[in-house]
Amino acid sequence: MNSTIILTPNALDTVYEQAIEIYPDECCGFLYGKEQCGRVIEQAIPVTNSKTGDKRRRFEISPLDYLRAEQYAEENNIQLLGIYHSHPNHPAIASIHDLEKALPYFSYVIVSVFETQIADIMSWRLRDEKRIFEKEKVLLPQYARN
């Protein structure tokens, strides 16, 4: 699997803005779009990091937010393709905690953020039936910061 994920300007802006706004906590949200030759993320919708306690190293999305995300996809005839979150002051490499909780099929987009600067963006997807992540090729709009 050498998959590609394309983030449109609209989706990328949403992810970057939330990562900076929520810093030093981890931000999180849903990614919607279409699956063609690769994945095209047309929309990112932020949700609250519902993790209790320290949110600087963990994120959690509430069941009700997940339920509504599936409803949104159905109502708008768009695919729920993944989850994004930030790694404040850390690289955009998936952590062991990310791997432990990862679901098949979804793209896990991670943004590395240092205060007001986006440092990197990567995307990861579970290899089917194996608990290992494979890096997806991320294609960004030309104006993007990296």
Partner: protein, 90 residues
């Protein structure tokens, strides 16, 4: 018939169907109906004791069945049941 919404990551086990209709009268029956029809889904939803896995939540409408009558929660013919996987990381 009641409708079960299949979460996107598990749809490959339901032939890409996003929902499943059931005539079951409670949650337990609805999940049994679903996993009998789509047997590959069972190991992702149920543990070795046929109980719903701890990282899976079942909602009836917008209520967690854990605050209702859990698996014994009654299901009306127009109900919507959602299977919700835990989403978290670090």
């Amino acid at each position: 018939m009641a409708r079960i919404i299949i979460p996107t990551p598990l749809r490959k086990f339901t032939n890409n169907q996003s929902s499943f209709e059931t005539q079951a009268s409670d949650i337990q029956g609805a999940i049994e109906d679903l996993t009998t029809t789509h047997s590959d889904l069972a190991k992702h939803l149920l543990d070795d004791h046929n109980q719903i896995r701890s990282f899976i939540r079942i909602y009836l409408g917008e209520e967690d069945i854990n605050v209702l009558q859990k698996e014994k929660t009654s299901v009306s013919p127009d109900a919507t049941i959602s299977i919700i996987p835990a989403i978290a990381g670090g």
